[in-house]
Point group: C2
Chain length 308, copies 2
């Protein structure tokens, strides 16, 4: 299954089939690692599966797989880490959607977790997905066996999701509601809220390669930083220009909530130009890897062109 | 009959000074490991410190320290793990107190986190304390350096706090509200909700000893199981008989919320008898350690006699 031919990314078609294969792989990998819905407490386990399975672009796992391929690893080497990162991402969506946070009713075209179940269950779903992510990094078989590498992965994921990473970015975002930020402040917020976990996805795959050169690590870090920011700007543009049927969630929320976003602050045109420049920076960062980096380049193209 | 009578006066006195010293040590250890309140995002970091510092019996760290002493380790060997377990416990209190969960206003004699700050911040405080706990296990210096031991600690804490442990116990508790449970169901719920983390406290300290015998592990597990259940029954009795000034939280909530507890189901007298039997079981489990186990025996006595 992981032995699909090396992707010829110049052909958009072959990447999209690779993408579907990675997404399908993740659906199965996550389903196998989540507790069965028949296990006590059934309602919590059913809600965990509801929150994680059956949708999502799997951007972070795709970044892990593409980085693995670029560095000569197989999907099997990083699958456990891909699941861990996606569980953290899924928990953050469940908590961000809560009434006390963004109060969203729709996610991936379905009722949000607290709507489909109840608020207390949604809090517990997020709380229970977190330790499952760290447990996978500690003992999943689809990861390098080396204990030192695993500890490094745990440290990276913990930092990316904690108060100096994703959770901190969400706190900054909440505090900024109704206040007009400078573009630089918006970037600093995004760097944590979505950027930290996107960077971790690339760098955790890199950490699975023993003795990867400093140069390669720096290049991947630059790539991930550019892609992470472009990803968030794209989200802002989609919120301003997309429609609910394509996006699977409410649109126009940023303007209504007086949120400072790229699209709101600079206008959609300037936001698109910034994205294009970041996309080029991402490409440049990959130069030293030559054609081996084609999967990562294709991911950046995909994220830029996506419609949801 | 009275547990306090079992410990001789001088022993009791020296344990209470040991206890204060452990609690003081934890206050400093946690303060040093939490992000400074001046660090961005300041409000989140201040709220994290508010939720963790300045109070609490530190039952779980005390169990770690007492187990370490029994097994010939120093506090320094397990301090990182003691902090990790306490961060998980602290996050669980913050989330359990939320309006969507138990909706409590008072905790340790202070306003609960969502009262002192706001609900969104309280959600994020819990979310950010979790990864900090796992980060400590991955890299804190006050732990055995051995990477394999650290991975085992991470696995143990993750399992104890996840959907088959603490978070699952809370889900079972919520689902049971307003429904009369059998005593055996109450025990099964407590086994996860508070028992899992208490057992993990003892067993994580044990996991810091390389090649500890199966016999010793089984004995410690028996001790921890008995102490964990006795601890929860004591909580139920205190809720039924204590006063708000001593407890630092609302009392009588269990009866008002029609919660099935030992004290509600069996009456306070029967609950006290069950505690006493568990206390004796805990003592018996420690026999093989001889006088080395005095710290663990003293902890059980303390937990039985406590007034809050």
């Amino acid at each position: 299954m992981d032995a699909e031919a090396v992707v010829d990314v110049s052909g958009e078609k072959s990447f999209s089939s690779q993408l579907r294969s990675w997404q399908q792989r993740m659906e199965e990998a996550l389903a196998a690692r989540l507790p069965a819905a028949e296990l006590v407490p059934e309602r919590l386990h059913a809600a965990m599966r509801y929150a994680v399975l059956g949708g999502g672009k799997r951007v972070r796992p795709v970044l892990l797989f593409a980085t693995a391929r670029t560095l000569g690893l197989t999907e099997r080497h990083v699958e456990g880490a891909a699941c861990a990162v996606e569980l953290i991402h899924a928990y953050s969506l469940v908590h961000d959607d809560l009434p006390a946070m963004d109060n969203d009713d729709l996610r991936r075209g379905k009722p949000t977790c607290h709507r489909a179940y109840d608020e207390a269950t949604a809090v517990l779903v997020g709380d229970a997905l977190q330790p499952l992510a760290f447990e996978l990094l500690a003992r999943d078989v689809a990861l390098p066996a080396d204990a030192g590498i695993r500890l490094r992965l745990i440290e990276m994921l913990a930092q990316a999701s904690g108060s100096l990473g994703m959770a901190g970015g969400q706190a900054i975002d909440l505090a900024a509601k109704g206040r007009r930020l400078a573009v630089s402040e918006v970037e600093a917020m995004h760097e944590r809220k979505t950027g930290a976990l996107i960077r971790a996805s690339v760098m955790m795959a890199a950490a699975c390669v023993p003795r990867l050169s400093e140069d390669a690590q720096t290049a991947l870090e630059r790539y991930a930083r550019a892609v992470g920011l472009a990803f968030q700007i794209k989200d802002d543009v989609l919120d301003a220009t997309g429609d609910v049927a394509t996006l699977g969630k409410a649109v126009g929320a940023d303007v209504r909530q007086a949120r400072s976003t790229y699209a709101v602050l600079s206008g959609v045109g300037a936001a698109r130009e910034r994205m294009q420049r970041l996309h080029e920076q991402a490409h440049e960062a990959l130069e030293q890897f030559g054609t081996a980096a084609e999967p990562l380049w294709a991911v950046s193209t995909w994220l830029l062109a996506r419609r949801n």
